[in-house]
Symmetry: C2
Subunit: 225 residues, 2 copies
C-alpha cells in the first residue's frame, strides 16, 4: 500500500489519542506532533478540532455498526434447534466487547458512547444516534419477536441493563490498561482480570450472556407490574 496521506495520518493519530484520553484532554498540538504533521494542517484539512473529532468518530463508528448489524442478522439465518435468544444476546454482547477491546477504533467508539452518556456535548452525540441507533432498532426488533408478550417498557429496560453492563466491563479493562502505565501504589483492580485480553473477553461475554438470560427470564415470566 502507498504511504498514508497527511489527512490519513492525522486521523490515525487523533483516533488513538482521543480513544485513550477523551476530547478535551487532547490538544491539537499533540495530535500534530504524533502524526508528524504541521500544526496548521489540522485546520487546513478539517476546519477545526471539533470537526476532526467528528470525522474520527464517523470512521470508527461506521464499521462498528456494520459488524453489529451483521452479527444480529446472522442469528436470523441460524439453524432452528438452538435457543435463539441466547444466540442473539451473545452475538450482541460479544461483538460489542470484541470490537471495543480489540482495536483502537472500537475503543474510541466505546469511549465516546460512555462519554456521551455522562456528558452529551457537541454535535458528536448526533453521530452516535445516527450510527448506533439502527443497531439498537435492529436488536430491539429481534428481541420483540423472541419475547412476543413483553411490553415495550420492559424491553427498553432490558436493553438498558445490557448496555450498562458492557460499557462497565469494557471501561474496566480500558482503565486497567491505563493504570498499568502509571503504576501508582493504589490498585484499581476490584475484579481479577484473567489472563490477557482474550481471556477477559471470553469471561465477560460468557458471564454477561448467562446473567442477562437469567435476568430476562425473571423479568418476563413473572406477572406484569
Amino acid at each position: 500500500m502507498s504511504e498514508p496521506t497527511t489527512k490519513e495520518r492525522l486521523l490515525d493519530a487523533a483516533e488513538v489519542l482521543f480513544a485513550h484520553q477523551g476530547y478535551e484532554a487532547v490538544s491539537i498540538r499533540e495530535i500534530a506532533a504524533e502524526a508528524d504533521v504541521n500544526l496548521a494542517a489540522i485546520n487546513y484539512h478539517f476546519q477545526g478540532k471539533e470537526n476532526l473529532y467528528v470525522e474520527v468518530l464517523r470512521r470508527c463508528l461506521a464499521p462498528k455498526r456494520e459488524k453489529l448489524l451483521a452479527a444480529i442478522a446472522a442469528v436470523e439465518v441460524a439453524t432452528d434447534d438452538k435457543p435463539k435468544l441466547e444466540m442473539l444476546i451473545r452475538a450482541f454482547v460479544g461483538t460489542h466487547i470484541e470490537d471495543a477491546l480489540s482495536s483502537p477504533h472500537g475503543l474510541l467508539g466505546l469511549h465516546l458512547m460512555s462519554r456521551e452518556m455522562s456528558e452529551p456535548r457537541h454535535g458528536a452525540y448526533v453521530l452516535v444516534k445516527e450510527l448506533i441507533g439502527p443497531v439498537r432498532e435492529s436488536f430491539m426488533a429481534h428481541i420483540r419477536i423472541l419475547l412476543p408478550d413483553t411490553d415495550e417498557k420492559k424491553i427498553q429496560m432490558i436493553i438498558g441493563s445490557i448496555v450498562g453492563q458492557f460499557i462497565y466491563y469494557a471501561m474496566y479493562w480500558h482503565n486497567h490498561l491505563n493504570m498499568l502505565g502509571k503504576s501508582e501504589e493504589v490498585e484499581l483492580a476490584f475484579m481479577s482480570l484473567g489472563d490477557g485480553v482474550e481471556d477477559y473477553m471470553a469471561n465477560v461475554i460468557d458471564h454477561m450472556t448467562r446473567f442477562t438470560l437469567g435476568g430476562i427470564k425473571a423479568i418476563t415470566e413473572g406477572g406484569d407490574a
Copy 2:
C-alpha cells in the same frame, strides 16, 4: 441558622457546578461568580481548584457511604422469613439510585464514579476507593454469605453487572434533565422515563432487583465454568 461562610458558599456552588458539568468544564471564575465570592478566595481557602474538587467530593461521598453501609446492615437484622438476597440487592440498588437522583450531593458522587471509571485522573479516585471501597467490601461480604458455594470470581462479576446497570440508569436520568434545557431537535430518549423522578426511581429499582436476582440465579445454579 447563621449565614454560610465564604468557604461553605464556595463548596455549595462548586458542588452544583461540578455535578452537572464535570471537573474540566467548570472554571473557578464560574464558581466564584456563582458563590458571589472573590476569585482569589478559592486559592486562599483551598489552595487550588483540584483541592476544592477533592473537598467537595469528600463532603458528598461520606454521607453516601454511611447511607449505603446502614442500608446493607439493616438487612442483617431483618426478620428471617423473607428472601435476604432480594432485600440485600434492593437495599444496595435502591439506596444508590435514590441518593444519586434525589440530591446534587448524590448526583455528584455518581458523576464522579462514572467519570473515574472512564478516566481515572487526579487524586480524586483515591477518594472514591477510600470512601466507596468499604461499601463494596460490606456488600461483597454479605453476598458471599448468601451465596456460599459461589467462587470469588463469579461474585466479582455479579457486582460488576449490578454497578454497571445502576450507573447507566442514573446517568440516563441525569442526561435527560440536561437535554431538557437545551431543547435541540434531537431526542435522547431511548427509554420512556416514566412520570417524574419518583416514578423513574421506583421503576429502575424494581427492574434492577428482579433482573439481577434472575441473573444471579442463572449464574450460580448452573455448573461452574
